[in-house]
């Protein structure tokens, strides 16, 4: 497993982590919201805008060809990264939210009829709830929800019951952003497929922690964001199986996505361009390729083992407080820990942690229905990445001791 020296070498690649915040060395524990960027990603953005910037796929000039090649090379890298069968099954979006909205809009136009249902789980992020609500409203369909156990795991028998004939799609998260639960996604997909129901997986929180093989998972759609996996903000991926993507109507109209346009009729371009209307985010897509390389060089085995160790350590340390309540106690968790200390409001704890240079997320984490389930206003959430250390966790524990004294 990675030792302190290995981690120190990784940390050195992240210039932002060297900062002081409120006079203290920054401790960045908000990685589930967004990760920091390694120098290679920052350099690639700089390199793109310094040497290559131009519009892609149309220009015959040198720069355009260079940028087009780099852009398509990035698509190839992502294809290999998640083991998609075809390169054109990788669609670049703005992020997970846009990927889900794309499917919610196009899939429902093609397949959703009045009385049908879309199935989600009780632990979804708002971005895997609201797009489906909008689609269901428009099509007079129903949104149904798989309930969860108090430990933050899916109630599997309920999932099976809800996969009935009315169900047209299951949209479910791979990893809960609030609880850290890693769903047994392969088993869930298999169960849905046994009932002939396609599956969309929200992989936003999984992608930086778990090796994804979309052919092995066999899901119809897999969505993730670049910025949660060390890549720039504003770029994301929608993976979709070729045959189903071909059946869906376009999401947005514009340049790039067309084959022929007359005022009477437009024919659409092939995959993946059919779903990439307008000028894409070329620079950030190229940056994403660097982030994939960064992750691949470390390797998911090392990442998972090291982050799991951090999670275990943080859990044990937090459990020293007798009045701590940890939300999300599934056996299989990503490096996310949500808690409330005594009766201290998460907002109060968050303000003081910030004053001590520790960045955590406080609030409902865009999972209000989940907060209602636990009957709490929110939690403090610490989420760890490959560059975090046990010393930083110890500093957070010391800070929480101070906070307890302040709010006693």
């Amino acid at each position: 497993m990675y030792n302190a020296m290995d981690i120190e070498k990784i940390r050195e690649q992240f210039p932002l982590l060297k900062q002081q915040v409120n006079g203290k060395s920054l401790i960045y524990f908000d990685n589930a919201a967004t990760t920091q960027k390694p120098q290679c990603v920052i350099d690639s953005l700089n390199h793109y805008y310094t040497t290559m910037n131009s519009n892609i796929h149309r220009g015959v000039h040198f720069l355009s060809q260079q940028a087009t090649n780099a852009f398509e090379e990035s698509r190839k890298t992502v294809q290999n990264f998640i083991n998609a069968r075809h390169m054109h099954e990788i669609i670049f979006t703005r992020g997970t939210t846009e990927s889900i909205n794309l499917v919610a809009s196009s899939f429902s136009k093609r397949f959703l009829k009045p009385g049908d249902t879309i199935l989600i789980s009780a632990m979804e992020h708002h971005s895997n709830i609201v797009p489906w609500q909008l689609a269901c409203e428009e099509r007079q369909a129903k949104l149904k929800v798989i309930p969860i156990n108090p430990d933050g795991t899916i109630i599997f028998s309920e999932l099976q019951n809800l996969l009935d004939e009315s169900c047209k799609l299951l949209a479910i998260t791979h990893v809960s952003n609030t609880l850290g639960t890693i769903n047994d996604i392969k088993k869930i997909i298999k169960t849905a497929h046994a009932a002939n129901i396609p599956v969309l997986v929200d992989g936003a929180q999984a992608i930086s922690h778990i090796k994804i093989d979309v052919q092995d998972l066999d899901c119809e759609f897999y969505c993730f964001s670049g910025h949660k996996m060390y890549a720039p903000m504003g770029v994301g991926v929608l993976y979709g199986k070729e045959h189903i993507l071909n059946e869906l109507p376009p999401y947005q109209g514009g340049g790039e996505m067309i084959k022929n346009v007359t005022f009477e009729k437009t024919t659409y371009n092939e995959l993946p361009f059919k779903f990439e209307a307008g000028t894409p985010n070329v620079g950030d897509v190229i940056g994403l390729q660097q982030a994939v390389k960064f992750i691949s060089e470390i390797g998911y085995d090392n990442i998972s083992a090291y982050e799991h160790d951090l999670l275990e350590y943080a859990t044990r340390q937090l459990e020293q407080f007798e009045d701590i309540k940890i939300y999300g106690t599934a056996e299989n968790k990503a490096s996310v820990i949500s808690f409330i200390l005594g009766n201290i409001h998460p907002y109060d704890a968050g303000i003081i942690l910030d004053k001590l240079g520790i960045a955590v997320r406080t609030g409902h984490h865009c999972t209000q229905p989940l907060m209602d389930f636990f009957r709490i206003p929110g939690t403090v959430r610490a989420s760890f990445a490959i560059y975090n250390t046990k010393e930083e966790i110890e500093a957070m524990i010391e800070a929480l001791k101070k906070i307890k004294l302040m709010f006693a």
Binding site: N22, H345, I351, I352, K355, G378, M406, F407
Partner: protein
């Protein structure tokens, strides 16, 4: 009766005593404890100021030409911050409240709470207090 200038000058003076952020926040926590609490019957959805992370209930009464505020919050720092606003504005005339520039917030180093993030409702609190003042002015003073 104190004017807006007097009450805010007082707040600034209090805060000048603290050089350490920890002391400042301890003071805010203490302020929260002496907040004129809202009557339990008003702790409903109607009196809730929507902020993303903590709940704040605010109520105002009009007596003899002046507006008096009461409030509560489930977060202690927020309670202290409402307390500061109430110390500044409660007991003033509707016109004084409507015209208050609220600049003192910068002087006491709580500007960060004014940032347009979704995490706090300071802007919404001020807006709501001014709205109360405007409503009472219209209701009781427009015929003058």
């Amino acid at each position: 009766m104190k004017t807006y200038q007097e009450s805010t000058a007082n707040i600034i003076k209090e805060f000048e005593l603290f050089t350490d952020w920890m002391d400042k926040y301890n003071y805010i926590i203490e302020l929260g404890k002496s907040l004129p609490l809202i009557d339990e019957k008003y702790k409903t959805e109607n009196y809730l100021i929507s902020g993303c992370q903590s709940q704040v209930w605010l109520y105002a009464e009009y007596k003899d030409g002046r507006v008096w505020f009461t409030a509560d919050s489930d977060a202690i720092i927020t309670k202290g911050i409402v307390g500061i606003l109430i110390n500044a504005l409660s007991g003033l005339s509707p016109d004084e409240i409507i015209n208050a520039d609220m600049d003192f917030i910068n002087n006491i180093g709580l500007r960060e709470h004014l940032s347009p993030t979704r995490s706090n409702g300071l802007n919404s609190m001020i807006k709501q207090m001014k709205l109360y003042a405007l409503v009472y002015k219209t209701k009781y003073e427009s015929s003058r």
